[in-house]
């Protein structure tokens, strides 16, 4: 089943991508999915629905806020916007993600590791 592959994302990765997308511009759920899929060159096959539990978590943590409005295609949509707390959280997460990635890269490529 496809949804077990989608789980390959590490926990919190989806939230991180949502926050990053929202920092660029507020969007509603469907637009967010489109955006993430396009930006990742369709490498990340996110199950569309799994966006919603993630959005609810972010809402609950007050990292994003939501408002009903009308979209460019004249559709009643719920638009999400990142909050100040969301931006702070995103920056922390990105830097810790980068450190983690650096660490993983060092382990995977020991030749490139500095003085040892």
């Amino acid at each position: 089943m496809t949804n077990s592959n989608a789980r390959d994302l590490f926990p919190g990765a989806l939230e991180l991508m949502i926050l990053e997308s929202l920092r660029r511009q507020p969007a509603h759920g469907y637009a967010l999915v489109q955006h993430i899929q396009q930006r990742s060159n369709n490498l990340l096959q996110v199950e569309e629905g799994s966006l919603y539990p993630a959005l609810q978590r972010l809402l609950k943590a007050k990292l994003v806020k939501a408002e009903w409005g009308v979209s460019s295609t004249n559709r009643r949509v719920r638009t999400y916007e990142i909050t100040a707390a969301g931006i702070r959280h995103l920056e922390q997460e990105i830097s810790s993600f980068e450190r983690m990635f650096e660490g993983i890269a060092l382990v995977l490529n020991p030749a490139k590791s500095p003085a040892n």
């Binding site: 199950e47 629905g49 609810q56």
Partner: protein, 879 residues
Amino acid sequence: MSWILDIFRRRALYNDLSEEIRGHLEERTEQIMREGMSHKEAEQAARRAFGNRTVLEERSREVWQWPTLESIWADVRYAIRQFKNSPGFSVTVILSLTLGLGANTTIFTFVNALLLRPPAVQDGGRLVEVLRHDAQASGIEAYSNLSYPGYADLRDHNRSLSGFAAFDGDGRTVSWSHNGQGEMVYGQLVSSNFFSVLGVEPALGRFFQPDEDKGGSSAPTVVISHSFWQRRFGGDRAVLGRVLTLNGAGYTVVGVTPASFNGVIIGFRHDFWTTLAMTPILIHDRDRMGSDTSSWLFGVGRLKPGVSKNEAQADLTVLTRNEHSSDRHAAVMDATAFPLQLMPGPVRGYVAAFTGMLMAAVGLVLLIACANAANLVLARATTRHRELAVRSALGATRFRIIRQALTESLILSMMGGAGGLLIAWWSIPALLRLTPATIPVSIEAPLDWRVFAFTFVASLLSGIVFGVLPALRSARRDLVPALKDGRQLAGPRRSRLRGSLVVAQITVCLVLLISAGLCVRSLINARSIDPGFSTHDIAVAQLNPGGLGYTEAQDRQFYQLLLERVRALPGVSSASLSDYLPLGTSRTVHDVQIDRVNPPPGQDFIPVQVAYVAPDFFRTMGVPLLNGRDYLPQDAEPKSGKVIINQAMASHYWPGQNPIGQHFKDHQQTVEIVGVAKTGKYRTLSEDPLDFMYLPLGPQPQEFLVVRTGAGEDAALREIRKVIQNLDPNVVPMEMETISQYMALPLFAARTTGVLLAVFGSVALLLATIGLSGIVSYSVTQRTNEIGVRMALGADRLDVVRLILKQGMRLTGIGLVLGLALSFAATRVLAGLLYGIKPGDPLTFAGVSVFLGLVAFISCYLPARRAASIDPMRSLRAE
């Protein structure tokens, strides 16, 4: 407190979410349609891309919930809805568990009361109970109490205890004279540091001063118990300073104990405490305090910081051995320390073994109840498989379904546990009434937190035990056939599991019933054992005018008048006195020398148990005199040297001779045999014939009055009480009872075990019957089609009955065989409680097996008959 707001906003949040997701799907569908698909195809594609909408929506909602708590609550509500749909099932399961858990809770309440409840003292873990122990003896006889000099020595010289107190091992029944009347109250003699070592603080007033132990200077004082204060003084604070006349002497009330404190030894009711120094005054025993050989005190020590119980025991042992170094038994007397508990250390093991056996019995009852519940849940699961299949198809995970099933069984078991507590609450007072009414024991058996915790854990475990198997089973199923036709065939595996549950029930039930059968038969045997005296139409009173400080002459006069007046009462045919009643708790043994007879190896004398009796004792008690004569009043004169022996002693030492007129030495006095009485039971009902002799009774402070009455012993008891009151209102009979009430004590253990096992056995039988007939009825329902086909093909009613019976009786047969094997092992445990019957008694084994087989047959036959009345046409049409 945003979570509170969340709860109220939740519905709005959920609606938003649903609308949002719908919008998402529409937008995706439109986009796919733009790529050239039909509306229908596009819709399906959009849903595929989205994933399982139900699950995702649920997960999104869960973000706003306390996930576990709320989904458990949802499970609970769902479960209760299920129970409402099938009340018959729920009630049966709950009742089964109520019986099982009720029996367990009841017995545990007693275990708790006897062994677990700690005394109400401060930091009880640092308190030790100190006794002496004879390293060469074994069992309970090896332990003895401390003498006062022995206690004082340990108190003054030990290095391991920060405080060492002592208390009288016997409760004292004392006459409290007030308003010109005597009232029986219960007291205990304690060292003056008793309360301070225990760390108990007075609720009112003070406790004893350190110097009050030494006696002499200070006036006698008492501390009274909170309940006595409330009961007799209405909780009046002015009780301090009042003088109570106890056994003829005045004691000033100085303090009241807290309500929680009721001494540190189980079973006694305490109305007051006074100091050991009062021993000569309170119980008129002048020699006791100075005596090395009177063992009557329990030691209670508080360990010094850093000292362990074993270190203290070693320290005290050294002192004890030194103390006895001049003694013949010197090196073998050790001190021994137990953690202080309400049940004295030496008997804890025996009580634990007895109650443990009862716990095992009720554990078996609970197992049967669980097997029953499991069976019912399994049966119901087959009718619910479609519901479960639908739930799985809608995205319920395996874990979720197991959790739901377990939630249901836990709710049932918790309700059973609540029912069990109700049963215990109702049955404990009834059981306490089984204790002999005349003994001043007060066992408190409260339903405290330990009992609640036990019942909770037992319910939880039962719920898991009977719920887990059906739960795992319900989650492991093939969805497609279940969804397709909604019917499932009774698979061989399922029925094998249920069958083995029934086998287990029959097995356990047989073990219980055989044990109960043995106990009941032994009880019948015990009742028919001839104790050697009459067990009806006798009234008994125990008197202690000596406790009031009577002189010997006053004593003599009191008893003489008493006998005269009692004999004159209507309906009384004879009355007598003795210092002993057979099968009682006290025992006196004399050293006897008989010419040409060698004493037992290793001893200088022949030990013979003895009782002192007044004239007419034999006639009154209904003990036949086989030879010779009864005592005459003049035999009671000192140096008269007359003795009456029992038949066992006569045939032991004067075989083939006429014992009348023979002489032997009792201690240093030569006595002449004037009579031979029939051998009776003296210590226990199950004993072999014992040598026994009766000596003439002189004036004694404490005596039994025995009165032969016509019918109506109770009326006679009231008359006798009046006679005693008229003689001296301050003499309070310590025990007044009919002989049949008196006999309750020797039969107590056997009777209690018999009653309890009979009750448990009946419960087990009831549960096993429900289980067996349940599974047979169920299989009849399952096999309706098959039976219809068979009948259509020519099977007659008898064939059908046989078919169904065969299944049930096969299970019964296996259960009976296993049960018999297990019973042979299990009933060994009962050996010590049985009178006149062997644990492996073949008659009981066979009888109970046949009985259980018959009951099983009936519970299979009824559903079988129903099967036989199936109309083949109708059952086939239903196909």
